[in-house]
């Protein structure tokens, strides 16, 4: 009996790693080819090289894209985290008719296709007389990542006992003060984690950035244009760098969420 169980266990174990392998296979291939000296993305593997990495580092267009992406993503995640903090506070601490519907409204950007957000924002903002630019990208991407930030923070806030704040009020603290002195420190790790998570989402985001932008490029846009204009092996190197950064940030965020 035990024997058949352990066989089943092992099978599931193998299946698990097989699925993980399938998911990560393209990325593994990309990482391997980023060190391949051949100009073409085909086997066999030629010589080991770090040339593509040098090319990327010395390519001003990649650097420009990277800088834009970093600045925009930083602004987006900062904006989204701060707004989401207040938003989550009011959602968690209030009880009014229609709260669950409003809650849903806050979360819809998560399920609406990105392309719709991109198009509608482009049309709306152009009609208002705004030129597509990185500022608009910042606004658009903030809308895109806000639901995530609200979800994370309200999840944490609903775990904080209500009577912590009540004790502070009874000692003479105003509501604003208790929000900053009691709730904010209790959300410390979640705030950092939310910042990192929204950062990685904004950093990878392509559709909104493409629709709300005229001439400035972000890193995902640069990668896309290099692919359209013909294959450049340096893409593998860029992809590897982005993947490793995202992985590190994502894991850090996960660890911070676990710390509360």
């Amino acid at each position: 009996m035990n024997n058949s169980k352990s066989i089943l266990n092992n099978l599931l174990y193998i299946l698990f790693f097989f699925i993980i392998f399938i998911i990560y296979l393209p990325i593994i291939v990309m990482i391997i080819f980023s060190f391949n000296s051949s100009k073409y993305q085909i086997m066999p593997f030629r010589d080991f090289t770090t040339e593509w990495y040098y090319r990327v580092i010395n390519d001003t267009q990649y650097l420009e894209g990277l800088t834009n992406s970093l600045v925009v993503s930083f602004t987006v995640s900062l904006l989204a985290t701060i707004l989401a903090f207040f938003c989550a506070y009011s959602l968690v601490n209030s009880n009014f008719r229609g709260k669950s519907i409003l809650n849903l409204f806050f979360l819809t950007p998560l399920v609406v296709p990105l392309i719709l957000i991109g198009i509608s924002l482009r049309f709306y903002l152009s009609a208002q007389g705004y030129e597509p630019s990185l500022y608009l990208v910042t606004i658009g991407q903030s809308i895109f990542v806000m639901p995530l930030a609200i979800l994370n923070l309200s999840n944490r806030m609903s775990q904080i006992p209500k009577n912590l704040e009540e004790a502070a009020w009874s000692l003479g603290s105003s509501r604003i003060r208790s929000m900053f002195e009691i709730i904010l420190p209790s959300c410390k790790f979640s705030l950092i984690a939310t910042f990192i998570l929204t950062f990685t989402f904004a950093f990878d985001e392509f559709i909104i950035a493409y629709f709300l932008n005229n001439f400035s490029i972000t890193l995902p846009i640069k990668i896309w244009t290099s692919l359209v204009t013909g294959f450049d092996p340096a893409i593998n190197a860029v992809g590897t760098l982005v993947f490793l950064t995202s992985l590190t940030l994502g894991l850090t965020a996960q660890l911070l969420f676990m710390k509360k």
Partner: protein, 342 residues
């Protein structure tokens, strides 16, 4: 410290459509130790939270001292509340927790330091100032919470089952401590509990609550000795509560005589199990049907031929020989029988 009175005038509270407090009137004098006692769901905690300002009243008025505070937010009220789980701020150390109220009062750093260290000393935690709340024991947390509430010198201290999370021994010690602190500071204490023993041992008056209303308001020994209603009697540990129709089933001379002397509009009677005298006798009126040992006493149940069950307890050694199915006669002193209104 300046002690304040509390006056609750015609308070009503509804949660959605459920009425949890019904036309509640209560005046608490300065310096009193009043306990709101009752089973869970009777509205005692809601009432306390309304005094603190953490809950709105649906209608009615609350006065603290001479001030009408009905719509005053909690931070502007001269009250301080202490919770069952203490609600210490987890990101502040013990010293910062105790000093938080003073920081809000914008006292200068040295005064805060001075006052908090004198309180740390008073509660016996002078070397714990840098510890975090999760690094100290439940009893110590309880004392920190008490110091944090009292350091702001409130006119009224509200306590929401503050001993509920402690073990039995520590609870007894803290009852004595709290009582001492109350007489030392002389401020008004409003204490919420469902534990009748706690209420009896500490309060100057007890408000027994039932379904959002006052069931009985009296001092502890009056409540213990002379409950007005069967609810109060049950809550105060009377195990023998009978309606008139029950008593008809009783052939016992003694109790029937008492009832005949009473006026007829009486509804129910009660008496304590320890006040019944047991006389073992062959062919006695009652038969023992259960016997349980509780350390310093035995508890019995006896039944008569009409099926009326009476609870008896005794610490008498002779009685401990009684076994199930022993036949006994029961008598009770008339003065021990209490008439109830409902």
């Amino acid at each position: 410290m300046i002690s304040k009175s509390i006056n609750l005038i015609n308070i009503n509270k509804k949660f959605n459509s459920v009425e949890v407090i019904k036309s509640f009137n209560l005046k608490i004098n300065e310096g009193e130790f009043v306990t709101l006692l009752g089973p869970s769901g009777c509205g005692k905690t809601t009432l306390l939270r309304m005094i603190a300002g953490l809950e709105y009243v649906s209608s009615g008025e609350i006065f603290i001292g001479d001030e009408n505070v009905t719509s005053v937010p909690p931070n502007k009220r001269d009250t301080s509340i202490m919770f069952q789980d203490y609600a210490l701020f987890p990101h502040m150390n013990i010293e910062q927790n105790i000093g938080y109220g003073l920081k809000l009062k914008k006292l200068d750093k040295n005064t805060i330091k001075e006052k908090t260290s004198s309180w740390l000393k008073k509660i016996g935690l002078e070397n714990y100032n840098n510890r975090m709340p999760y690094e100290i024991s439940g009893g110590q947390r309880q004392r920190v919470a008490l110091a944090r509430s009292l350091i702001v010198e409130p006119g009224v201290l509200l306590l929401d089952e503050p001993l509920g999370a402690l073990d039995a021994n520590l609870r007894k010690t803290m009852q004595v401590e709290l009582k001492k602190i109350h007489s030392e500071f002389g401020i008004t204490f409003v204490y919420v509990t469902h534990d009748q023993e706690e209420a009896l041992s500490m309060s100057s008056r007890i408000v027994l609550m039932n379904e959002g209303e006052i069931e009985q308001l009296s001092n502890p020994n009056e409540l213990y000795d002379k409950p007005n209603t069967s609810f109060a009697a049950k809550f105060m540990g009377f195990s023998n509560i009978y309606s008139i129709s029950d008593i008809q089933l009783l052939n016992s001379e003694n109790i029937i005589k008492h009832l005949k002397e009473e006026n007829t509009n009486l509804n129910k009677i009660c008496f304590r199990s320890k006040d019944i005298e047991i006389n073992p006798q062959k062919n006695g009126e009652f038969k023992i049907i259960s016997k349980n040992y509780y350390g310093d006493l035995y508890k019995f149940q006896a039944i008569n031929s009409n099926g009326l069950i009476i609870n008896i307890s005794s610490s008498d050694n002779k009685i401990s020989n009684l076994e199930i199915n022993s036949e006994v006669n029961l008598t009770i002193d008339n003065s021990k029988i209490i008439s109830l209104q409902k």
